[in-house]
Symmetry: C2
Subunit: 385 residues, 2 copies
């Protein structure tokens, strides 16, 4: 297949089928912010607002404004999100709530740093879209908080106990590396030390001897032979691969680029379901049944991340295997997840690839992985010509 | 089908196929307590100990000793569990850990009261088996703690926020009612006021106008039209039905007995999958997709609870529909969950009834629902003659 024929497919899917769904159904023009619980046709089945998703959607509309077209309505949507995030979502101690009522009363706070991470992404990109320099300043201050908290999660209320195996999670250096890319923009040099610290911590999770990317390792990077230590999340490792690849390109480090390519390939090879197609949500590195109930489901976001990661690999390696992997995911994702009737993608399929949840938006699915991947792939296809 | 022909089936399944699995594979004779992460053949895939499950297994072996046969090895197993629970699992402030290393170092503590609840069950029944009166005393003191904490979960570290809808959860009065039954034994009158308080709180969840048992309602018993408020857990409501029925029989209250029968019937009618058989794990009361990923899976424990609940209903109502429901679950459960090769039951099936997780024990599956249901059904079948 000629990749260039897909450029228009990704552009149309993004601009005609996905972005309009969120424009039409998610915007709360009265209170600001975005509703997230949207049924197949966009109707609301809950009015709560989830701050991971409000941050991500604010980022996405700012990015569309900055990178695709300066449509005033996109900037206005980003402004509605940013205002809610700044005025309602932050507590006096700088913690960002996980969920809120539609008018901004807190419902739940996680003992994690991710609400804050997506708040930072949102404000940094919104600052560029709007020219509001104080938004960038707030993002940078919050990044310092998150950087500090990430070194000791007891600072966000997570207790630790004597019997825990000392460990580090891939999620932390990975999201920080992506955040730095988003906050730094064209000024990556300022954050070079922090970026290299994240990269070194990420590399501890990458084990060439078994072609495995572990979610959890000891502080020295050793695998942990326990339920939690053996847990693999192929989609997450694939996403980590392209986060790392962006820095490898910037730093012009071929070794790092090679590792980033491998992370995607290994995780895809292991994660692809040979029987029914699609990428498993979780696996156990030694082949036990993962304890998580949803391990064999096929979720939208690992497929979104794999689309861009494979195409990015192909753009660097020129290897036909990377192109074939991209096309395999493309065919699966567009035929299984995309909803031609109401726009956006379904989020959750069973192992056989049948839709199990009809909604388009929920507490963990918003305006993010689908449009981000469509935009990244579209732009990369344009580059490839 | 003649029910009496099944008496022997349940006895053999319990004593020859299920109990031996746990006797053989779960007992840590060195440290005390029980390993929980046991693969299909009983081999360990993690050495952590989960206190819900250690409490429940201690209870189960004590119950077998007290109600089936006074085998010294069953009392010894119960003693190993009780000793670990008393010496390792309790913190200075009386909180009970959720998970521990095999030698008893804490790994995780929940902001919930269930570890303490199963600790109480364990010590009360162990006290009757061993004659150790101080174990009963400890159970009663812990029950007072849990009773107090259950009125305000901030006492176990659960924060509350302005935007939360005031609500009460079926799980709390339901587990307390069962605990009182277990602690009181033949002396139910002592706890009559507390039991009636639990019963009244449970009844707020039962809505005849829509034949619905809600997991979450307002403090006045009104349904809550949100993601969480609409969530139904048919297996849980069925279990609540038989907990309530036991008290209805003791209190000789026909109205309560009728309600308890209805709770089981409504939840089963709504929860049974007409297409593939088996009881759904979660549903939404208004027919939206539940947000939980595993909603359409078929878990062992709702089927265990339904077996006993339907048979108990039949023993009271004599209604052929209750007998037919019992036989429908019997056929499904014995053909899908029971493992004829290695003993015990599989825990997790997909919607089609195919095994998705090969292990017999995990962080939430131990020696409890299967043997408890087999024992209760066996004894009820004997009674029915």
């Amino acid at each position: 297949m000629n990749l260039s024929s897909l450029t228009e497919v990704y552009k149309i899917e993004l601009l005609n089928h996905v972005v309009p769904f969120w424009e039409k159904h998610s915007i709360d023009r009265k209170n600001g912010g975005f509703w997230n619980c949207l049924d197949r046709d966009g109707s609301k089945y809950d009015t709560k607002k989830y701050m991971w998703l409000n941050g991500r959607q604010t980022w996405m509309f700012s990015k569309l404004y900055n990178s695709v077209e300066q449509r005033p309505e996109w900037l206005e949507i980003a402004r509605l999100g940013a205002t809610f995030l700044r005025e309602k979502a932050v507590r006096a101690d700088s913690r960002v709530y996980f969920s809120m009522t539609e008018d901004g009363k807190p419902v739940h706070l996680q003992r994690k740093i991710f609400s804050e991470c997506f708040w930072i992404m949102a404000l940094a990109e919104y600052s560029r879209a709007s020219g509001d320099l104080s938004a960038m300043n707030e993002a940078k201050i919050m990044l310092e908080n998150v950087w500090d908290w990430s070194t000791d999660l007891s600072k966000v209320g997570r207790p630790s106990f004597d019997g825990e195996v000392p460990s580090q999670s891939l999620a932390i250096p990975m999201i920080l590396l992506n955040l730095i890319e988003e906050v730094a923009g064209d000024d990556k040099e300022t954050y070079r030390v922090e970026a290299e610290s994240c990269i070194n911590r990420m590399l501890l999770h990458v084990h060439p001897e078994t072609k495995t990317v572990y979610e959890l390792v000891t502080p020295d990077g050793d695998p942990i032979d326990s339920l939690e230590g053996r847990l693999l999340n192929p989609g997450h490792a694939i996403e980590a691969g392209w986060f790392l690849q962006h820095w490898a390109q910037y730093l012009k480090r071929d070794d790092l680029s090679k590792t980033a390519v491998d992370m995607v390939r290994w995780s895809y090879d292991r994660g692809w379901d040979q029987e029914f197609g699609g990428i498993f949500y979780f696996l156990d590195s030694k082949g036990y049944s993962p304890s998580l109930l949803e391990w064999d489901m096929k979720l939208w976001w690992p497929h979104c991340e794999a689309l861009y990661a494979h195409l990015l690999n192909y753009s660097i390696t020129g290897d036909e295997a990377d192109k074939a992997a991209f096309l395999q995911v493309h065919e699966y994702a567009f035929s299984k997840f995309s909803d031609p009737y109401h726009g956006e993608w379904f989020g959750y399929l069973n192992r056989r690839g049948e839709v199990t949840h009809r909604f388009k938006g929920g507490p963990y699915k918003g305006c993010f992985h689908v449009p981000r991947a469509l935009w990244l792939v579209w732009k990369k296809l344009e580059e490839l010509g």
